[in-house]
Symmetry: D2
Amino acid sequence: MNSSKLSVFEHPIRIYWEDTDAGGIVFYANYLKFFERARTEWLRALGFGQQVLRDQSGGMFVVSETAVKYHSPARLDDTLAVTAELQSSGKASLTIAQRAYLRTTGGSDRLLAEGTIRLGWVDSITLKPGRIPAPVLEALK
Amino acid sequence: MNSSKLSVFEHPIRIYWEDTDAGGIVFYANYLKFFERARTEWLRALGFGQQVLRDQSGGMFVVSETAVKYHSPARLDDTLAVTAELQSSGKASLTIAQRAYLRTTGGSDRLLAEGTIRLGWVDSITLKPGRIPAPVLEALK
Amino acid sequence: MNSSKLSVFEHPIRIYWEDTDAGGIVFYANYLKFFERARTEWLRALGFGQQVLRDQSGGMFVVSETAVKYHSPARLDDTLAVTAELQSSGKASLTIAQRAYLRTTGGSDRLLAEGTIRLGWVDSITLKPGRIPAPVLEALK
Amino acid sequence: MNSSKLSVFEHPIRIYWEDTDAGGIVFYANYLKFFERARTEWLRALGFGQQVLRDQSGGMFVVSETAVKYHSPARLDDTLAVTAELQSSGKASLTIAQRAYLRTTGGSDRLLAEGTIRLGWVDSITLKPGRIPAPVLEALK
């Protein structure tokens, strides 16, 4: 990792058979899962577990937009480092920038995929849009 | 299909990239999904949609036991015929026997996987065990 | 479906338990799977099965970019109509526009999600970029 | 964990949105994925990465039989401890016993699911059955 990423949250992901497809590489849709695991751990590190957040606020995040570019494939047994950082935020939505790097023993990580995930906030029961809880917004900034 | 299967419910499944793994074949855990799709369509054909059943009864099926034998692998673009039939039933649980066949143009289908799925019934909110609605039990027999 | 979609390829998708998450709605990453099933069936309808294409040409499509907007959630037992149409094409890549509609009994379908998928072409073994087979490009136009 | 499990390999698994379904609990088929992650890490800890094993031997493990009992559901944000231990082995197949426990802060873990996975060995290209490499068999015992 280069120095510019030192302040970015990073989560390790191991590639298993379940993640691959008959092309011999990781199925592209699974990067959305990897990105979400990293976002979830980032929020948890900031003090916000998804279930606790839902129980306490009655609301939850929903994904409203995703954009991903795939640069290079990952394979079985690879270890990835997946990052998450806030790109922009408003009262009702957030955009998170995320990247997946291949961790190599040499230390020069390779960018595999990058993207942005836009999140909205909804009531857990009615699914009607609402405001993101202020403590969450403040913690992410 | 041979004549002995004529009375068994059967649902077609197409194999896509998402179903395969780096071994070049269908990932074994996915047969549980294929079996469930067939069970769901069987129940629907008998008049019981999963969501309607849940809304009306306040309960839902949960899987309590699975046993699957894998005989031969499926590959990308294959078409499978997945069957479902009642093996045994009680007031609180059901066991469904299921098979996945490879559909071939020649007409002699090959058995890929077979198994049994035991279902219990629980309250949707509390997840406490309950009795399977009588109309469902009667329809399945 | 309104008349403007009459010439667009459309593939039906049923929502099962496997497609949903604890939010009670379809997990957003799964729309990439639904889009791929529709693309695959579109190509098949044009005469190009994925596996045959790979066996004959030694190459395969890989997804290089995805962009999806989520407008409204799908739920268990819903039936979706997923479309695929060519947005642009070059010798080495294609962009496909896709939409997922909720099929309703009333006939007025609701747009659930829409996006674009950019595909490149690579050698199946080396994964090096190559040119999309000309017959495929011609058929898609 | 009680003392009887001290010698058993154990792998932690976190539950994310991707693992759950609209019942609000972990989708049962996903335990097969959790079991496989634990088996894979167990083999890795013994010196056998899946991809290296495949590259060096030309063969790979395939699952020939699974049997799982589900005792209690896991939910979003739960942490599981998944175990793997050899139950029996022959020259061409292995049976692994696996359990998934809910990790609680109090220290009294709850058994969620348990099962056995039978593995065979096949040539990676032809998928014909073969003998499990002797070093793998010896390491597992």
